[in-house]
Amino acid sequence: AQKVTQAQTEISVVEKEDVTLDCVYETRDTTYYLFWYKQPPSGELVFLIRRNSFDEQNEISGRYSWNFQKSTSSFNFTITASQVVDSAVYFCALMDSNYQLIWGAGTKLIIKP
C-alpha cells in the first residue's frame, strides 16, 4: 500500500535552531515522486520541492535542505537557523504511478522568538 508517515505531529523550537522534519513513505512503485508543501498560518499551500525516485542527490535551497534516502524510504526536510516566518504546517506527499498524491498528516512547526 502507498503511504506517507510524518510521525512528528508538532515540533517547537527557538528561533535560530536547526530543525528536521521527518517523512517516511511506502510504495511498490519503482518510479515515483516526492514533494514537500508548506501551509503557513494564512492557509495557502505552497510548493517547496519535488524529487523523483531516481535522483538521490540532496538538495539545498537557502536555509532549506532535503535528504532523500531510498534505502530507508525517507525524505527528510531540514531548516537551518530557523526563523519565526518558518512557522507553518509542512506536508510531505508521494505521487504514485496513477499520478495521485498521497499526503502525510503534516507536521506543525512552531518557531518561538
Binding site: Y33, F35, Y37, Q39, G43, E44, L45, V46, F47, R50, N52, V89, F91, M95, Y99, Q100, L101, W103, A105, G106, K108
Partner: protein, 113 residues
C-alpha cells in the same frame, strides 16, 4: 496574475442551503482537483478532472457535484449543506502527470451553522 483562484475565500451558511465554490486556473494545466482539509489539517482528495473529464471521484456524498465547463475551470456545488461539511476546500491544478506538483488556490473556508 493569480495562478489558481477560488472564490469565495470565506463562506458562512446555514444547514440545508446549497452553495457553490468557483475555481479558475490560468497556468495552462489540463487537470484540476478539489481537496477537503478538515480541522486536523488532513488533506483528502475529492475529485479530479482532466480536460473536463472526471478521473477521480472519491467516496464523497453525492450532495457534492463538481462541474468543469472547460479545462481552466472546476466548480464545486454542494447541496443540502450539513454541519460536517465545514472545512477548508482547496482547488488545485497540474499537468496530467502531476510530476511538477500541484498548484493550489488559497482555499475556501466553509462554515455551516
Amino acid at each position: 496574475d493569480t495562478a489558481v483562484s477560488q472564490t469565495p475565500k470565506y463562506l458562512v451558511t446555514q444547514m440545508g442551503n446549497d452553495k457553490s465554490i468557483k475555481c479558475e486556473q490560468n497556468l495552462g494545466h489540463d487537470t484540476m482537483y478539489w481537496y477537503k482539509q478538515d480541522s486536523k489539517k488532513f488533506l483528502k482528495i475529492m475529485f479530479s478532472y482532466n480536460n473536463k473529464e472526471l478521473i477521480i471521484n472519491e467516496t464523497v456524498p453525492n450532495r457534492f457535484s463538481p462541474k468543469s465547463p472547460d479545462k481552466a475551470h472546476l466548480n464545486l456545488h454542494i447541496n443540502s449543506l450539513e454541519l460536517g461539511d465545514s472545512a477548508v476546500y482547496f482547488c488545485a491544478s497540474s499537468l496530467r502527470t502531476g510530476r511538477n506538483g500541484y498548484t493550489f488556490g488559497s482555499g475556501t473556508r466553509l462554515t455551516v451553522v
